[in-house]
Symmetry: C3
Subunit: 268 residues, 3 copies
């Protein structure tokens, strides 16, 4: 593993144009699809119970984000997970608002047994998902109250139970797998003022996992690309409408040199 692996994975996504199936919440479908297109992949929001399982077998990667789940979408998510696991398709769990709401928390925790290839969430969501301490976590929707560092034990626990990679999003993102921890410092506070920046990251992780690189490296590269574009966007935009546009443009056009310049990546 060398840091030069990251731009290579970014270019592999652009070359391979992986098809990413996103079972995600209604509020972020538009920005998620545009982000997936901007990074060079191809989105499909197929999420019904009758189609999601079949689609997961032809998709390159799958995102499960139960942000506004209807009963039909829950069934679709279970079908997609089953289809992905049968076909060996990498899939990502984004435990949106885990801990704050009973039904989705139960659903999200139940998916750990299905061994997601990656989990991506804020510190409070990762802590609530791991459920090591009943008193921890959630309650304020998708905003992260805890600090990323505090979620490392929960992330390590989840990595051990799933064999996958866990990304904790924060001012510094922390990527945790069974034997490795990597920290990425980048992004900009305005990312919090645009809906779907966090949710779209889960889809980007699915795309990066699909191109055959080392999974830990792939999750690091996904976070680095996503947040380096956020740092670059802040150079030309200072309010959320124009920032969103600049961020999508930056995701599309980011160079290997910019990835290196805007994202500080270090092994812990």
């Amino acid at each position: 593993m060398a840091t030069s692996a990251y731009p290579e994975i970014m270019h592999a996504v652009r070359d391979q144009e992986p098809l990413i199936q996103c079972l995600t919440n209604g509020v972020v479908m538009d920005i998620t699809a545009n982000v997936i297109l901007a990074i060079g992949a191809s989105p499909a929001m197929c999420d019904t119970s009758t189609e999601a399982g079949d689609f997961a077998q032809v998709a390159s990667g799958v995102l499960i984000n139960a942000g506004t789940p209807s009963n039909e979408q829950y069934a679709g998510m279970r079908a997609a997970v089953a289809g992905a696991n049968e076909a060996g398709t990498p899939w990502v769990l984004d435990p949106v608002a885990c801990g704050g709401l009973k039904e989705r928390t139960r659903f999200q925790r139940s998916l750990i047994a299905d061994k997601p290839h990656a989990i991506r969430g804020n510190a409070s969501e990762i802590i609530a998902l791991a459920n090591l301490d009943e008193n921890a976590g959630g309650g304020r929707g998708v905003d992260s109250a805890d600090e990323a560092e505090a979620a490392i034990p929960a992330a390590r626990n989840l990595a051990e139970r799933t064999g996958g990679i866990v990304g904790i999003s924060g001012a510094t993102d922390i990527i945790v797998s069974q034997n490795r921890i990597t920290k990425i410092t980048s992004g900009h506070p305005l990312m919090q003022k645009v809906i779907g920046t966090g949710c779209s990251l889960g889809a980007v992780v699915a795309a990066y996992l699909s191109v055959g690189a080392d999974p830990h490296d792939a999750v690091v590269a996904a976070h680095a690309h996503h947040s380096a574009a956020g740092a670059k966007a802040a150079e030309t935009a200072s309010a959320p409408g124009s920032y969103k546009l600049a961020w999508v443009d930056a995701l599309y056009a980011l160079t290997a040199e910019e990835l290196d310049r805007y994202a500080q990546i270090e092994e812990a």
Copy 2:
């Protein structure tokens, strides 16, 4: 009540970052969430029957907008209203396309008995919701055919039945409560060319109602902030794509001085 109350409420929203639960239609979820973030609040689109009631008890404010309601979302809206009323959470009814479609009209009228803290709609929707004249109102979706002035009796009737505040949107917005009428002239015709400007206003009203100010003042301030940003945006943009961006930027950055300059507010 002095006009200086309005910028104070705008700043209170930015300081308190209220959590606004939006049960709204799929077409405007993205822009509504981005508008809520831009004014300094925090959005959550939790709308399922199993979660919406619990969430309304922890939310700072709730929006009910039955623009594209599935049966599951109707159940979620009833649960959210019950939860909000139990917890004393202010909630807003946006009677989208009331009068034009039977099922939603029946649903929207039934919510009057639950006493929404505020109602926000176009003149035809307010008239149809009050149902004083069976022949009045609706039929063309969300566009307002009638003039705001003509809806004042209906708005007054709704204010009396609910004890809440009624906002009639138009070229001049009219805010009606039991003992007071306030008119706000601002905005720009290009707002009609961007989807969700009206629907997002309901969510902004919910945010403004949540910070502890006088409710009538809060609804006036919400309308003033929303439309003043629309007036400001028109200074730099003349087509809807760039106008939408400029409007979101203006919502985020609007100063007290600009609120005063771009919105003419008068008591009637």
Copy 3:
């Protein structure tokens, strides 16, 4: 039919402001509504089984796009088609991802018997919808794998079975009816990097069909307006965030002279 018919139809849409009911997938609702507003029409996303049929009787045009269909939306689509046909409202079928997924393919093919006034899709979708060759078509979501030319026999078949107009989207769009084929060369590759450019075209076609012009001319004009704006946008934008904004602006402001300049239209 003269090419001067096309700007006239574009202006007729702006003058008549037709009300377009869009039963479409959640990911493109926002951009579809904004595109409909930008061309001067009025969108309504009414898609529930209890309301869609009534609404189709008052709408000027209807779009059916089963991109992320729930069971309730399927029922709404059937109700809308029945209502549209009863009232003589023109309606458009967009067979998203036809051929790649069993349930939607069955649903989309079943609608041919209801005789859509127009069908709009990529080559692979048109081929799969016509179902002339069981081995052809789909499997990669909404991206078009086949070339538009290869889909002409399938389009001709569909035109004969429905009596309607079939638009095949590609680098060159091909409009096929029983006795006429027209080709439109315009647009820009960046359109593929913005979600909903294709899906919104189906709604634009519905708007154009509603203003009383010759249906084949109307479908040509819809494609020409849509893609000429795409060509114009590429003059000022080179990445998808800014390109999307520029495209919406161009849809709104496109002149008759620009329609002629940016879109090459020829009869085959």
